[in-house]
């Protein structure tokens, strides 16, 4: 299986563990990832807020670049990039005037036929729990995790069309297939405060404290995320707390027999190493 890969800016900056573990897990599952050549930023929330055309154009620029690749699907680990590209493709298809204007700005024609997937969605749909289970060499026995989906993957549902916006389960299924136990909790899609982390840190701290407190109350060993912004906020804004916040791809890699170091598990502020050692998952 081959797919185009759009890492996005964070994954080559503050979220390298997400990038490395995503690539390693896809390779183990026989998915050949081919980076979008010369990909750029999707504009993220600042462009979406301040300049709609710019936001659509930046997403369209990356869509056009992905269309030069000989693959049908693009896989995107970052939920914001995912929602933005998906949204832009739909907006261009619905509005010929907008399409002409944006194509002029990006100097390319957009076919609009790319299959746009979040990494979580792609793995859940194309590989599935059964496919994942077959690759498990080191089951995550005794590990109790709180799957946290955040916002952009599942909300709003008419944009992302993925899973359930209030009670998603796709990550739960993958984690269960790895041998972990998942917490059925109410905070799966509560917002972490996303891009306000820098300019309104207190707001983000309040939101993250509530989420981590609930994970502690549920006796989770770790919160598991599919978004680098959720990871950064929950890890950094729990005020020196000890709740590990891990990428689902890191746990997949561990269960597939990869080393904690290669998966970037030593890069988080709230270290999971002691807990993973105590459970005999890493030596």
């Amino acid at each position: 299986m081959k797919a185009s890969y759009y890492p996005g800016c964070s994954l080559e900056g503050t979220a390298k563990p997400y990038d490395h573990s995503s690539r390693a897990v896809c390779e183990a599952l026989g998915i050949g990832l081919e980076d979008i050549p010369d990909w750029s930023c999707c504009g993220s929330s600042p462009a979406l807020k301040m300049n709609k055309d710019l936001s659509t154009a930046l997403a369209a620029h990356n869509l056009a670049l992905s269309e030069t690749q000989s693959v049908e699907d693009v896989v995107i680990p970052c939920p914001f990039c995912f929602r933005r590209l998906l949204s832009a493709q739909a907006e261009l298809a619905a509005d010929p005037d907008l399409k002409a204007r944006i194509e002029g700005a990006v100097e390319a024609e957009i076919q609009g036929t790319t299959g746009i997937h979040s990494l979580l969605g792609f793995l859940a749909e194309r590989v599935g729990a059964d496919g994942v289970r077959k690759k498990v060499q080191r089951p995550l026995k005794g590990l109790r995790v709180a799957p946290y989906y955040g916002c952009y993957l599942v909300k709003p549902h008419d944009v992302t069309g993925f899973d359930d916006p209030e009670n998603p389960t796709s990550m739960d299924d993958l984690l269960t297939a790895l041998g972990a136990e998942t917490v059925d909790w109410d905070f799966k899609t509560e917002c972490c405060g996303a891009g306000l982390a820098v300019s309104k840190t207190e707001t983000v701290r309040d939101l993250c404290r509530r989420i981590v407190a609930e994970a502690v109350h549920q006796k989770a060993d770790a919160v598991v995320v599919a978004c680098q912004l959720c990871q950064a906020n929950l890890d950094m804004r729990q005020d020196g707390g000890a709740m590990p916040v891990l990428y689902f791809t890191q746990l997949m890699g561990l269960a597939f027999g990869m080393s904690a170091k290669d998966l970037g598990l030593k890069h988080h502020l709230a270290s999971p190493m002691k807990m993973l050692k105590a459970k005999g998952i890493v030596s």
Binding site: D38, A47, L58, A105, P156, T189, L196, S199
Partner: protein, 186 residues
């Protein structure tokens, strides 16, 4: 107290927001599910329900100075729970564009500054250099040592490199052209 006089001018702002955002605000029931769900609504940030009320009532200045749309992180929670399917982050974009076009001073200068620095980084290098944008923001707001403790820990763990905070980086002329071409059209 605000009294509507029924003048067409009172409706001009409402219709402009509706057209730019593609959202039918006249459908709003003022039920408040949005503000009840909103992660950033607080004692000081009005939330979507009150913001829509201001737009519906033609309170243009109040709407353009409302902190809600600056705070909006486009999480989409209100959009999913709204009984008439109003997407508020589309409304936030429309208000931001109107405010900028009319020279309204940002009511949340900190959020505005960070978003601007972020986009400048994209314009310059094609990809945002997160740590650079954060560092610039902390310097510009006179808090150069903000988050230094977790930052140092991440450096010691090898998660980030101090080099990533320094100015520099490549360039992406194609992306720079997208910025300039869109600016020409405005």
């Amino acid at each position: 107290m605000l009294r509507l006089t029924g003048q067409p001018t009172e409706r001009a702002f409402l219709h402009k927001v509706m057209e730019m955002s593609g959202q039918d605000l006249l459908d709003c029931l003022q039920c408040g599910k949005c503000s009840g769900s909103c992660p950033i609504a607080s004692e000081t940030v009005a939330g979507p329900r009150r913001l829509i009320a201001r737009i519906l009532a033609g309170m243009k200045d109040e709407a353009l100075e409302d902190a809600t749309w600056w705070y909006c992180v486009a999480c989409g929670t209100c959009a999913g729970r709204c009984p008439v399917e109003i997407n508020m982050y589309e409304v936030a974009t429309a208000l931001c564009e109107i405010a900028e076009a009319e020279g309204v001073k940002p009511s949340e200068p900190d959020i505005h500054l960070f978003e601007e620095l972020f986009l400048k980084s994209v314009q310059k290098t094609g990809r945002v250099r997160e740590l650079q944008a954060v560092m610039q923001y902390n310097l510009r707001t006179f808090h150069p040592f903000k988050d230094m403790v977790p930052g140092m820990k991440l450096i010691f763990k090898g998660a980030i490199s101090p080099k990533e905070m320094l100015p520099g980086g490549g360039s992406d002329p194609k992306v720079a052209r997208i910025f300039s071409r869109l600016a020409e059209k405005e």
